[in-house]
């Protein structure tokens, strides 16, 4: 069968009985099998998917995610289905409960198809830090799909799943969405509960979602957002909807290392918005270049604390099972928090973080959203940066600041390189301004006559 490419097509097809949920699952499982070399899944939940599909077919209800086949990053706990964080430490771990996001998507009619590969513990920007081998970019298997939510982005862009979840602590949803040519949302810090999601850096962690269109990501967001009483950072917030918009581009974005093709497609993005009557003005975000150093202090500090619980006693294997990147981050984080270095590194970083927040606060007095590149370049080759941790850290230059500031970012695909690798951009908004980002994204897609597609 020809798979429907959006949530809306899936739901309408089911309600009009053009196809059954079981047929959908048949086709997705066939695709997963025929594209096994992409290494997108660590666990395929075949039985669970068929059981859910049969329930849907026997009782069709008008639910927001009806029949939407969903893949979850292997950081999301799924009751009865193995959850590894792509680490050998949790190789045999089967959770006793599910994450709030998983529960909410299931209740909204989604069919969980499996658990996706990622950089172990979500540490990485290429997928290569997975303890179970790297996932591969479906547009060209010699290239990385981005990370850390590598398998989720591969699953959606490669037609192995309709939608997927990810996490975004410094770009782990937006960057793989960008490398794979799909839409990825990093929500406002505090918009979505992280209960049941393996923690990386708790002051930065957010729940990401992947889809082929802005509308699909908006639908997922509306299903999973809001307090559950189990993550005390979540607040209920309703942003005012706007009709007329002004966008800003920071001059600091045009920095050394920005690829020419990325830059020219980015400037075209600006023209598309201007063509829609949206004013685009120059702004300044002076602390942009300190994003990576601040991030690589705050994040490992919190990582070293969160990974302290893995002692191999109550579940999982001993600490000797940690891979190289987890060890580096635990060591770095422990160092910046240790006596004598706390003030110079951790406290200093938290202060520069305040200055970044002030940069964005003043920008959002002038503009409704900021237009930014996602990655400084298109997807790179597998192995190209794997031996140089610092080079890999610099991948986060455009994506980690929104996490430090706590604001939402929506990555949208636009155009391809000469080598046929996806390009795109991100829209950054003020806290809880997701509706504005969705609106702008949909306006953009309409203006460019965007058509969702599967990478073959």
């Amino acid at each position: 069968m020809n798979l429907p490419l959006t949530i809306k097509e899936t739901k309408e097809g089911l309600l009009k009985k053009k196809f059954s949920a079981v047929e959908l699952v048949d086709q997705y499982l066939a695709n997963i099998e025929s594209r096994k070399e992409l290494n997108a899944f660590l666990t395929v939940a075949r039985e669970e998917a068929y059981a859910k599909a049969k329930r849907i077919d026997s009782n069709l209800e008008n639910l927001p995610l009806l029949g939407a086949v969903a893949a979850h990053k292997d950081l999301f706990l799924t009751k009865g289905v193995r959850t590894t964080a792509s680490s050998k430490v949790l190789e045999g771990y089967v959770p006793e409960y599910s994450a709030t996001v998983v529960e909410r998507m299931n209740k909204a009619g989604a069919i969980m198809i499996g658990k996706t590969n990622c950089d172990a513990w979500a540490h990485g920007a290429s997928g290569e830090n997975s303890d179970f081998g790297p996932a591969k970019n479906p547009w060209n298997k010699e290239y990385v799909p981005g990370g850390s939510s590598s398998g989720s982005a591969v699953a959606v862009s490669g037609g192995l799943s309709l939608i997927a979840t990810g996490t975004d602590t410094g770009g782990s949803t937006r960057q793989p969405a960008n490398f794979c040519g799909i839409v990825g949302l990093k929500p406002t810090y505090g918009a979505i509960s992280r209960y049941g999601v393996i923690a990386m850096a708790s002051s930065l962690d957010t729940i990401g979602s992947f889809g082929r269109t802005v509308s699909d990501v908006e639908t997922i967001f509306n299903v999973i957002k809001g307090p559950d009483g189990l993550d005390s950072t979540v607040i209920d917030f309703k942003a005012a909807e706007k009709k007329k918009f002004r966008l800003g581009i920071a001059k600091e974005f045009f920095m050394e290392g920005l690829d020419k093709e990325v830059e020219s497609s980015f400037l075209e993005t600006k023209k598309v918005f201007e063509g829609l009557g949206v004013e685009v003005v120059d702004i300044s975000l002076p602390h942009t270049k300190y994003g990576v150093p601040v991030y690589y202090i705050v994040m490992p500090a919190e990582v070293s604390s969160n990974l302290g619980r893995y002692d191999g006693i109550r579940y999982g294997s001993p600490r000797s099972s940690f891979g190289a990147e987890a060890i580096r981050r635990i060591m770095l984080g422990t160092y910046v928090l240790s006596a004598g270095y706390y003030d110079a590194f951790y406290l200093k970083a938290q202060k520069v973080r305040s200055k970044m927040i002030a940069d964005f606060d003043s920008a959002f007095e002038k503009v409704d959203a900021v237009l930014s590149p996602v990655s400084p370049h298109p997807a790179f080759k597998i192995g190209e940066k794997a031996d140089d941790p610092l080079m890999m850290y610099l991948e986060d230059v455009y994506t980690c600041v929104p996490n430090l500031v706590g604001i939402p970012g929506l990555a949208i695909p636009f155009k391809f390189t000469k080598k046929c690798l996806p390009l795109g951009f991100q829209l950054l908004g003020s806290r809880f301004s997701e509706p504005t980002l969705f609106k702008l994204g949909k306006m953009f897609d309409e203006a460019t006559d965007y058509k969702p597609k599967i990478a073959i």
Partner: protein
């Protein structure tokens, strides 16, 4: 800014409860030195009078009722189901106290 040394790496590994081999120490030390050099760039940012931020939505002291619900508790069997090192419904752990050496 302080330069990271091999003894720092050994000290940090001990604090983090990581047992590293000599080969691993040799591998990680130069990598960490390079990263620490890089993050030390922050020194050039003026932060006098700037407060630190650790929570971006401004929440402080979030309270909830101290109620136990069936959804959020495990019985003993479920609580220990993640480990294969159990005994009579308990986790098995290594002894933390040994024989006194001065006896």
């Amino acid at each position: 800014m302080a330069k990271l040394t091999k003894s720092d790496v050994l000290h940090v590994a001990k604090l983090a409860n990581l047992k590293l081999t000599d080969k691993e120490i040799l591998k990680y030390t130069p990598q960490l030195v390079k990263i620490v050099d890089y993050i030390s760039e922050l020194n050039e940012v003026e932060t006098t009078g700037v407060g630190p931020t650790s929570q971006t939505t401004g929440l402080t002291d979030v309270f909830r009722d101290d109620k136990v619900t069936a959804d959020t508790i495990f019985d003993q069997d479920r609580a220990i189901s993640g480990s294969d090192k159990t005994h009579n419904g308990y986790f098995k752990v290594k002894a933390i106290l040994g024989e006194r050496s001065d006896k």
